[in-house]
Amino acid sequence: MSAKSPLSPEELLHLYRKMVQIRVFEEQAIELFGKGLITGTTHPCIGQEAISVGVCAALGREDQVLATYRGHGAALAKGCSPATIMAELLTRTTGCCKGRGGSMHLCDTAQGFLGTNAIVAAHIPLAGGVALSNKLRKKPLVTACFFGDGASCEGEFFETLNMAALWKVPLIFVCENNGYAISVPTNLSQATPDIADRARGFGMTSVVVDGNDVVAVHLAARAAVEEARHGRGPIFLECKTVRWERHSAFSAGRYEDPEEAQKWKRVDPLPRFREMLLSSGTAAAQLAKVDQDCQEEIAAAVAFAVQSPSPDAASLYEGIFVE
């Protein structure tokens, strides 16, 4: 490994492994969606893996993450098992949410993964409350909240920036600016090019980072986690990236310029990181082994999901209330 890298070979390989795991998972999800095995919709995070991986690698197991419907990557990056996440996408009883949540609602509290949400921006104040609980209980834990550029236009985003900064909670805002909210590009929705500027307005440390460079994201996240853990939060990270060719596996929308659909491939973080690893001395065979392991792991996850039972309609009324 290059002496210049601040990360150890093991750390770099971990980042690579998680990115490949998510990529393969999402490719399989798209395929299963095409086969009709995933009902409803599913939102791949292909092309954005560097962000969830870079950030979650800076967190400990007990630190908490909340994310959006485009959150399969965040779930896996936080340590959730691909098998129970895949089973959830297929709404099977073995899924992390017993098949109640589906693709947009993942959760595994044991991994500190407190849930993905399908209402844009609604989970941001929830993350604020989780971070406040850490502060009130004097637990040295950090909460990270992932959301998109579209979410940064919602009122709850601004409300939470204010409350989090006011109460100095250990929260990291992670904006995945992928240039689009469904079909609306940021130039039609954002008053200023950098969403990070908004956080500065609330007196917060706010950083813009290349979201397709996993090492850059990870180093920025490490610094942010360090700050937040020592009571100097909240911190804002805007990760610039490019969305996969469609909003969801389901969306049939068109771009004005069809070239837009190809854009993510030109900045794809995965081949880029691969190149970096190879050029700095990682053996190709080592990466190939990781690729192979991930393929096998996800194939097993798919098999597990497909073989798992669907919930019985008799269970519909169960669990509306605790008591």
Partner: protein, 323 residues
């Protein structure tokens, strides 16, 4: 036995549970040293301090969101929304988050959140400060709803709400805050889903909600002078609703009038009426009647008196249903 006002009974319930539960936290606006818009929090700030009796910014949506975040972290939270009209601003957090997280995350999180919201239907404060919107929330699965009409019930229901694990909307008509009832000094709680018969009668059942309960009792008194024995039943909670308790009274009297301040269309009366048709139709000696708020925006000033029901028009309804 001593008597307490409903305001003081609620204050006592909060105070006692704040003492019993060190992690119970109150969030809202004007709840600190000021003691709450209607004085329900008086003295709590002095006893428990600014961390636990937390005044915050004016943002109903994120305030409820933070409350949910505390709740899913295992810290019980009470959030105040100063007028029921303002629940509209926090609707997503109440309806899509608090009510559903436990269910769709497969039971992994619980939401021990209590939202207190006053109804100000009888003060002439105009169209944006006078609404009774309880039926909106009754429509949504996953929210418990308490709507007490007196000090005794208010304290007992508040205790149950503060000891359970489900989200509760606690609706209080400010007109009732100053009314007094006997409240034991010993600890007690009242289960949800149990209606209370406030006056026994044999000729007609009046199911009354919240601020209409004193009107119903007054109308019943007048009716008694005319030889009509009215049974007054207060459901006390809307979810769960004591269908069986209401039906039992209806079977006894054979006639049912439902009275509430809320708009007529899709009000709680419509739901209760339909449930009674489904369960006790054969016992009805007359069509079920509704005495409700009018389907108009509540004007400012004295004209509100013509919008919400009163003892006179309720008495007319009683007289007409027995004839």
């Amino acid at each position: 036995m001593r008597t307490l006002s409903m305001r003081d009974a609620l204050n006592e319930a909060l105070r006692e549970e704040m003492r019993n539960q060190p992690e119970l936290t109150l969030l809202g606006q004007d709840i600190g040293a000021y003691g709450g818009t209607f004085g329900v929090y008086k003295g709590l700030f002095d006893e428990f301090g600014p961390e636990r009796v937390r005044d915050g910014p004016l943002c109903e949506s994120a305030t409820v969101g933070f409350g949910i975040g505390l709740a899913i972290s295992g810290m019980r939270c009470v959030v105040e929304l100063e007028f029921m009209d303002f629940t509209t601003v926090a609707m997503d957090q109440i309806v899509n988050q608090a009510a559903k997280l436990h269910y769709f995350l497969g039971g992994q999180v619980t939401v021990p959140l209590l939202i207190r919201t006053p109804i100000v239907s009888r003060m002439g404060m105009g169209p944006q400060h006078s609404q009774s919107l309880e039926s909106w929330f009754m429509h949504v699965p996953g929210l418990k709803i308490a709507i007490p009409s007196n000090a005794y019930d208010a304290k007992g229901l508040m205790k149950t709400a503060l000891r359970g694990l489900d989200p509760v909307l606690f609706i209080e008509n400010v007109k009732l805050y100053g009314t007094s009832a006997e409240v034991p000094t010993e600890d007690y709680s009242i289960p949800f889903g149990k209606a209370r018969t406030l006056r026994e009668g044999t000729d007609v059942t009046v199911v009354a909600l919240s601020g209409t309960v004193p009107e119903a009792l007054a109308a019943a008194e007048s009716a008694a002078q005319a030889g009509i024995q009215v049974e007054v039943v207060d459901p006390r909670t809307l979810n769960p609703l004591d269908d069986a308790g209401i039906a039992a009274s209806l079977r006894k009297t054979g006639r049912l009038i439902i009275v509430h301040d809320a708009y007529r269309t899709c009000g709680v009366a419509a739901e209760i009426s339909q449930r009674m048709m489904e369960t006790a139709f054969d016992y009805l000696n007359a069509p079920i009647m509704r005495v409700t708020g009018l389907d108009v925006p509540v004007p400012s000033g004295a004209l509100y008196q013509n919008v919400v029901p009163n003892r006179e028009n309720l008495l007319q309804a009683i007289q007409s249903i027995v004839n």
